[in-house]
Amino acid sequence: MLRLENVHTHYGLSHVLQGVSLTVEEGEVVGLFGRNGVGKTTVMKTIAGWVRPTSGSIELGGESIAGMASDDICRRGIGFVPEDRRIFPGLSVEENLKLGLLQCPRRPARESREKLERIYQRFPRLKERRNQMGTTLSGGEQQMLAMARVLVGAPKLLLIDEPTEGLAPMIVDEIFSIIGGLREEGVPILLVEQNVHRAVEVSTRFYALERGLIILEGKASSAADRKALMESIAV
């Protein structure tokens, strides 16, 4: 479904991704792990079109999306939940969610309304706070809003970057159960997460990244692969 082949990305002179290859297939939750600063977020930003790869290919469902504008990538069906949530200040919860509906333009108003209602059923707390400014929500609620505004457009594949960073343990449980629910529904996800133990539990497969290169690939169901992963990213 998503295939990265020998992707290189530079920030000015610094060579951040040095030939990353990875795949996410239908129904998979793929973890991408590694220490701070090895390029995990850059992988996400490169797929989402925030930064352009300098070389290599990125394909979604067989179509090349490398170098496309972010809004075109979004319309191809990639939903990006970035690090730090990036909730728009001055926009209410509902306005934030309605932006997510733009991924599927020219829908009848009734259909959009239904989509919004379905999202509110999934995240009842957002419904209670629909008219509140998005930035006045708690960290956990902001994370839910960041996920909800992407999910409202029913993306074909999700990129989720550090969803539990800075959240209280109880909220972390909630976020992982949402990701688990998405896995049940068969939404393919590429997940970057510091909390490796928890993230591996919801993953089907994983990669370890080290200095801009994939150094390991494994199955979450294999105890040996998990052990190798923990060793490879241990400080």
Binding site: G49, S70, D71, I73, C74, P82, L91
Partner: protein
Amino acid sequence: MLDWLQFILAPQVINGLSIGVAVVLMALGLTIIFGLLDVINMAHGEFYALGAYLGYALIASGVSFWFALVFVPLLMVPIGYATERLLIRRVFHSKERHILTLLLTFGLAILLEDGLKLAFGANPLKPEQPISGASEIIGLYFPNYRLFLMAVGVLIIVAVWLTVYRTSLGAMVRAAAFDRHMAASLGVRVSHVYAGTFAFGVALAGISGVLLAPIYSVFPTMGKDFVLIAFSVVIIGGMGSIKGAVLAGLILTQIQAVSSLYISPVWTDPLLFGIMVLVLMVRPQGLFGRLGHG
């Protein structure tokens, strides 16, 4: 005392308001363009002049003022759109964006001004007053056209406000102003929003030109002084703040109008810039926050 209020202060306040509304229209265009694109449009005054000339030429060709008032901003939209897509876009992603867009729009201002001189000559042209007569308010007579100008200006300001803060289009613009990457990843066509916003700001300058042409005459450098006031309004109100542009525009033109009762009108512009300097010293970010930033 009552006489002073009625015959001296009131006319100043109302005349100040009509100029204030026009200044706010100019400042709105400037501040929206800055708030979203981070571009200081040095050609804004010349777009204002272009609007006035287009209106003048249309009326001279036989159409009515009312047609020109609607048609000129519609003409300015593609002009502004093309300016953003063909010129500003080219330097937008450069690291030197601020200085490059400043120089680019400054060059465009010179081109526009000279183009207008070539096309229409350097002498002031005086369009006819589309509405004549005066109306009595609180025992005083005010030119009907100024009253009309205020009404139209207020309508436009309210419409802009509602569009930006109450519609999904406005939410898109505010989102793109705050975080263009995130907005794009939610499907907002950021490049169209940028060009459209620039076009909209330019159209606001154009309609101000048509509206003010019957009061001041039409001449190639007509935008220069006017845009300076609009710039100080934007700086005092907060670069990129809509609320700031409206409030600062109305308050500053009132200060100018009322102070001219006590000081020579020559000193009202320095007074304005003095206030601007003070605001910059005390609150360099201006009175209000930037578009999209809460």
